[in-house]
Amino acid sequence: MGWYNKRLAKSLWVFHASGSPCNNCDIEILDLITPRYDIERLGLKLVGSVRHADVLLVTGIFNQKIAPKIKKIYDQAPKPIFVVAIGTCVSSGCCFKDSYNITEKPESIIPIDMFVPGCPPKPEAMIEAVAKLMGVLNG
């Protein structure tokens, strides 16, 4: 699939699905497409439906109500789709790991390809993640 990935890396379309975040990672993601960081210069675009997307961004812990919906979104996505987890919540549960409403492991719901830690990660860190993803896709 090398030829496919190389073409994909030129313009990644991103769908953003929030699990149960505190909203901050989502705002920082939106911040990425505003003039200061302007990630659209790298060919990235936020799209309205996961059926158009090449990258799925997930944020926040997955609580028991949202977890099936996240799974459904992942199933609806055309493959290959690259799942990037933004924020500490997805990687370790942050301060919510003692909660009664959390699902055990995000990886048990959807496969996750890349973690961007930070609470919330700085936009620069997210841009670095994008660059790394493009590097991987370009081989």
Partner: protein, 395 residues
């Protein structure tokens, strides 16, 4: 005409957070609105009971990424209320400074998103561009763009040194100038005016009946602001105006917010001025919290946030109750959405600046049919009590 249901969400391109609305429409007109929340429920109140008082400040900071000063502030107010802990003057100014910076960034965020919702992306991009210096100011003060970790019981965690103040002034001058520009754009732009004027009206009576708070109620002519009416921190030491407008439509809500941003700039300027001269410590060392209960309130960007903490003399709260402003503002949809066209529904839904992360900790459903469900719940609960009573007493 037959009513149709339009589902929105839980994942919708216009909604950052997952939430689910069901609009009942007849033709083009919205006749009823139903909503389901709980997608964001993380159980803060439960987790908080396992944390110490200092740890729970960091926890409540993560209730909502936008109000990450308001919740900790209300939380420390509640703990301080238990023992009537005094706060040093310098810490009071720093608290006010951070709280007002948060108000600016939250309101700018809303104005941008409102522009985006009505298809005015230029406004979005411009306003978010000028939001960046505010986040930079946060970075100078606390070292982080969001989630500042500034609050402590008895003071604040970090001082604002004189060399930082000069840098903050530089940013503030720029922001204030641009905010006057944004305020003029919002008030004078003919497109915005004709698009938002008279849309989604929340009458004064409805605002009072639904106990709406914050800019939502102030745009409907309810002159209530915790900062002025029950001042905490340094709010009784600075001059500012409470913006109240009479009409209750989306336009007034937008104007209230942009004018509040300018007021916040004024407060920040006064705080920085006072911080130059006010000397002393920034943190009173608090060793123990005695048994008792306390409440803390703060005027968050969306309205009044309320924390209740009960302590049993140990280092952790045995009950921590949070009531966020969106919890009372979201039900006003039922009053403001009825009878409006579908096209206006989204901006009306967005106009209270709903924050579902804040709202979702205890209750599940808020809607017009909620009442019957609650009565059902109450009824079944009473029936069960009656059944158990009979079992116990044997008749």
């Amino acid at each position: 005409m037959k009513a149709n249901k339009i589902p929105i969400g839980p994942f919708h391109p216009l909604l950052e957070e997952a939430e689910y609305f069901e609009l009942k429409v007849e033709g083009e007109t919205v006749v009823d609105i139903d909503m389901e929340i709980g997608w964001m429920h993380r159980g803060h109140e439960y987790i908080s009971e396992m944390k110490t008082f200092t740890q729970s400040i960091y926890l409540v900071e993560r209730i909502c990424g936008i109000c990450s000063t308001s919740h900790p502030l209300a939380c420390v107010h509640a703990v301080e209320d238990i023992d009537n802990i005094e706060i040093p003057l310098r810490a009071r100014y720093i608290r006010t400074l951070v709280g007002e910076l948060e108000r600016i960034h939250s309101h700018l965020l809303w104005i941008g998103l409102a522009g985006h919702f009505i298809g005015y992306d230029t406004l979005w991009m411009w306003v978010w561009k000028y939001r960046e210096p505010v986040l930079e100011m946060f970075e100078i003060i606390s070292g982080n763009r969001n989630h500042y970790g500034m609050m402590r019981v008895g003071g604040v965690a970090k001082d604002v040194e004189p060399e930082k103040i000069t840098e903050l002034y530089k940013h503030l001058d720029m922001i204030e100038k641009k905010m006057v520009m944004v305020a003029n754009v919002v008030r004078d732009d003919p497109v915005l005016r004709s698009r938002l004027k008279g849309v989604g009206v929340l009458t004064h009576e409805a605002a009072v009946a639904y106990c709406a708070t914050g800019p939502t109620s102030r745009a409907s002519g309810v002159p209530w602001d915790v900062r002025r009416d029950e001042p905490t921190d340094a709010y009784d030491l600075v001059d500012f105006e409470v913006i109240v407008l009479p009409n209750g439509d989306v336009y007034d809500k937008a104007v209230v917010r942009v004018l509040e941003v300018i007021e916040s700039c004024k407060i920040i300027r006064q705080c920085l001025e006072k911080l130059k001269t006010a000397q002393g410590s920034i943190l009173n060392n608090v060793k123990e919290i005695s048994p008792g209960e306390g409440i803390g309130r703060y005027e968050a960007p969306r309205g009044e946030v309320f924390h209740y903490i009960r302590s049993d003399g140990t280092n952790r709260p045995i009950r921590h109750k949070v009531r966020a402003p969106s919890f009372v503002n979201i039900p006003t949809f039922t009053a403001s959405c009825k009878g409006i066209p579908i096209a206006d529904a989204l901006i009306t839904l967005a106009s209270v600046d709903p924050c579902y992360c804040c709202t979702e900790r205890s209750l599940k459903i808020i809607d017009s049919s909620c009442e019957s469900r609650q009565i059902d719940l109450l009824k079944s609960s009473r029936e069960k009590t009656e059944r158990i009573r009979r079992e116990v007493h044997g008749n």
